[in-house]
């Protein structure tokens, strides 16, 4: 089981390297800055973990859990990137996804995730609970983003669609794994469940590598609106006009 886990983890590491290499070659890197920052962090973190395991194996467990906790927080960057990309071509709601992502993350972080650390019973239980609640928060954010993308008819394209699909599978599997670990205890987790974490990540990375292999622009719409393609200033004026008309109407 240990060798299998290590093999999965190493495969993930190779895929991460491939993703970064491909990103720099195909210039997708600069189009998804937050996502590639996260990927670079994971790549460096995994490398540091391998070095720790090789040079100071007695400190590996502590180093791994610290890296794991920081990674859970860093994953919110992927959500911010996804939310930015969904509404990129719509000037009026360009930051809607980002605003909602930050709002949901901050509110659930304060009322749902943080109490697990403040009212901790034991280190392992706290880690499981923290990861589980952070994953549920990410799933909620993703569900909201999916709903908004559908509501506004946003076309995702291969790149953003792949980002969302890969991350959704990872988050869904994490929720199931951590819920199982919490229910069946640390013993079963260290024997069976632990390799589900790198497995879900490898699945996610595989989808990301395939979808971000090359830049795929968002498909053009056949017909969208009577007025095609406005610039931001025109949209600000239109939005202000709509608001002033409605405000006038409300004050009657």
């Amino acid at each position: 089981m240990y060798i299998l886990g290590m093999a999965i983890s190493f495969f993930g590491f190779v895929l991460l390297g491939l993703l970064i290499l491909r990103g720099t070659r195909s210039h997708v890197f600069r189009l998804f800055p937050l996502f590639y920052s996260y990927i670079t962090y994971i790549f460096c973190g995994t490398l540091a973990m391998y070095l720790t395991l090789w040079l100071k194996p007695q400190k590996y467990a502590t180093a791994y859990w610290i890296y794991f906790l920081v990674t859970i927080l860093a994953e919110f960057m992927v959500l911010v990137e996804i939310s930015d990309q969904i509404f990129r071509s719509y000037p009026a709601i360009r930051y809607l996804g980002r605003a909602l992502t930050l709002l949901i993350a901050a509110s659930l972080g304060g009322f749902y995730i943080l109490p697990t650390i403040l009212q901790s019973t034991g280190r392992t239980e706290t880690l499981f609970e923290f990861t589980l609640r952070a994953s549920v928060t990410k799933a909620i954010i993703l569900a909201v983003l999916f709903y908004l993308a559908r509501h506004y008819g946003s076309r995702l394209g291969r790149n953003v669609g792949g980002l969302m699909l890969g991350f959704s599978i990872y988050v869904g599997m994490n929720i199931a794994t951590m819920a199982g670990a919490k229910a069946f205890g640390e013993g079963l987790f260290s024997q069976v469940f632990w390799f589900m974490v790198p497995l879900s990540f490898v699945l996610c990375i595989s989808i990301w590598t395939l979808s971000l292999w090359e830049y795929s622009p968002i498909p053009e719409r056949r017909s969208v609106a009577p007025v095609m393609g406005r610039d931001s200033k025109a949209v600000v004026l239109e939005l202000t006009r709509f608001n002033s008309e409605l405000t006038k109407f409300l004050h009657k």
Binding site: L31, V136, A149, A225, V235, F242, N243
Partner: protein, 174 residues
């Protein structure tokens, strides 16, 4: 444990449902919505709202011609028209929001205060139009949309004091 398993399964179903599109849905995706989106710059369309939300016709029927049933019917019909008008305004706004921007560069733009301002205007409009729809649905088209606070003693006093202050100011100017 069970609740989290249900969350995980429901979440994956939502995700798969999102990526699966029926052919009918794809075909209908760009058809106009059920509420036609008028141009807000159209004066006649804006004038229409004046007529819809004007209670004088209903009052005339009820008070001067003494036809309360007819006035009630007119109010009911105006309520339907008011809801349609507000929905059409919302549809027009949604069309604007869903209009993609033609950008020459593919690189992500740097965050600008203009984008946050646009988001604020969008959220504000959505909130106000939802509120207006709720008030019209609940109380009809002739109800005040912004509640009057004249019954609050503080507001009356403060209003009076503001008026007095204005008078003092105007006297001091002259």
């Amino acid at each position: 444990m069970l609740i989290y398993a249900a969350i995980a399964i429901a979440f994956l179903i939502v995700v798969l449902g999102f990526f699966r599109k029926s052919p009918a849905q794809q075909a209908d995706e760009f058809l106009p919505a059920s509420h036609p989106a008028p141009n807000t710059g159209n004066i006649r369309w804006l004038d229409l709202s004046e007529r819809i939300f004007d209670p004088s016709d209903a009052r005339w029927l009820r008070d001067e011609l003494a036809f309360p049933r007819l006035a009630e019917l007119l109010t009911h019909e105006r309520k339907r028209l008011a809801i349609e008008w507000l929905r059409a305004l919302q549809a027009s706004f949604d069309t604007l929001v869903r209009t993609p921007e033609i950008s020459l560069s593919e690189a992500p733009e740097a965050p600008s205060p203009g984008s946050w301002q646009m988001l604020w205007l969008t959220v504000r409009f959505k909130f106000l139009v939802s509120y207006a729809l709720l008030v019209v649905r609940l109380f009809g088209p002739y109800h005040r949309l912004i509640p009057s606070f004249s019954w609050v003693p503080f507001s009356r006093e403060s209003g009076r004091s503001f008026q007095q202050a204005d008078l003092v100011d105007s006297r001091s100017i002259h």
